[in-house]
Assembly symmetry: C2
Homo-oligomer: 217 residues x 2
């Protein structure tokens, strides 16, 4: 039987999963807008970020209420503190997906992504989207295997980012400085989305196993 | 007369100020290493980040203990939750200063910064350093005037970042794609240091006045 506190905790978890689902959509649609040079799709991603921010505020308020009213200890306290951090990660991931969409909008009607980088960016978008999807499942199920799995996906993102730079810095690069800067910043945004997903996975591992997660720099 | 809890809170505040002081040094020395192409100075910044991370862990542990043992409510609870967030901001600012130093190290013995950008990067470094300095004072003194002042410094950082892009995207840019990417990423790192300083200032304003700070995206 669940008491009122654990019902509230479940409610907070549900809102976090909802946030993660919205971030997943933002990453997919932001990447789509970028690759298709679709300004309307970009606008939708940018507008949708407000809902992610609202959910963060909601979870923060409720977490705060539970801390003040229930005075939880041990694992319950850890779960609430972890919730505060995870919604901060999710809010930031939403902003990063919005930054991706803003580059699409800024270059419209041109496409920010030269043809030879299309596949690499598409793959970075897919990896990021998959990592956010796994984070949602991990948070929903407290599944540590999934969380550990996520950490390895991050290596793939690093590899993609290196190959991105390899292409941009090649002597045959013909798209100029502006495109190169867009690509460098996009690489950074996707990398940061992945970093936040890993950081969330580590928090879940900590909550479930009590092992202190290794901090990445 | 101060009770044990408020002594602990003061201790946490002192550690945060100590972290902010270390971040200030990291920003100054990272920028110096970058402008002077000084690899040893860059190494010192990179090595020093571990101490910032250690202080974050310490503040997190102590905050957690206080939450569990003292079961604080109202403003005391808010102060502890704010401490968790502010040390996360400071840890991230330390990482960003480290990223600046890593670009200096990567390009050594060359200088990553072409002569015509020297002044703009130096100014971005100064603005970032000053913002971190003010954050330390703001946290130490809960001075809202200082915090409000900090928010306006951020406009200056935005202006500097735009002028950076203006130079890099000029048709007379002669330093190639790699240097342009370094500059774009450096611009982003300084901008993010400023964002975190503003976010900390808003938390102090909230703690002192109870006004919900406006969130930046």
């Amino acid at each position: 039987m669940r008491d009122a506190f654990h019902e509230q905790l479940q409610h907070l978890t549900d809102r976090m999963v909802e946030m993660a689902n919205l971030v997943e959509v933002a990453v997919r649609e932001g990447t789509g807008a970028l690759l298709e040079a679709d300004a309307r799709r970009a606008e939708r991603v940018i507008a949708a970020d407000a809902q992610i921010d609202r959910l963060q505020s909601l979870v923060e308020e409720r977490t705060f209420e539970q801390l003040a009213l229930q005075q939880p200890v041990a694992s319950d306290l850890r779960a609430l503190v972890a919730a505060l951090r995870m919604v901060a990660d999710l809010e930031r991931m939403g902003d990063l997906a919005e930054h991706v969409a803003k580059i699409a909008r800024m270059r419209y009607p041109e496409c920010a992504i030269p043809a030879e980088l299309h596949d690499t960016i598409a793959e970075m978008g897919s990896v990021a989207e998959r990592m956010v999807h796994k984070v949602a499942q991990t948070v929903a199920s407290s599944d540590v295997t999934q969380a550990v799995d996520l950490v390895s996906e991050d290596d793939q993102m690093d590899r993609l980012r290196r190959s991105l730079f390899h292409i941009v810095l090649d002597k045959d690069w013909s798209h100029g400085v502006e495109a190169a800067i867009d690509i460098a910043l996009l690489g950074r945004y996707y990398e940061r989305i992945a970093d936040h997903a890993v950081s969330m996975a580590r928090r879940v591992i900590y909550l479930v196993t009590g092992d202190v997660p290794v901090r990445s720099s």
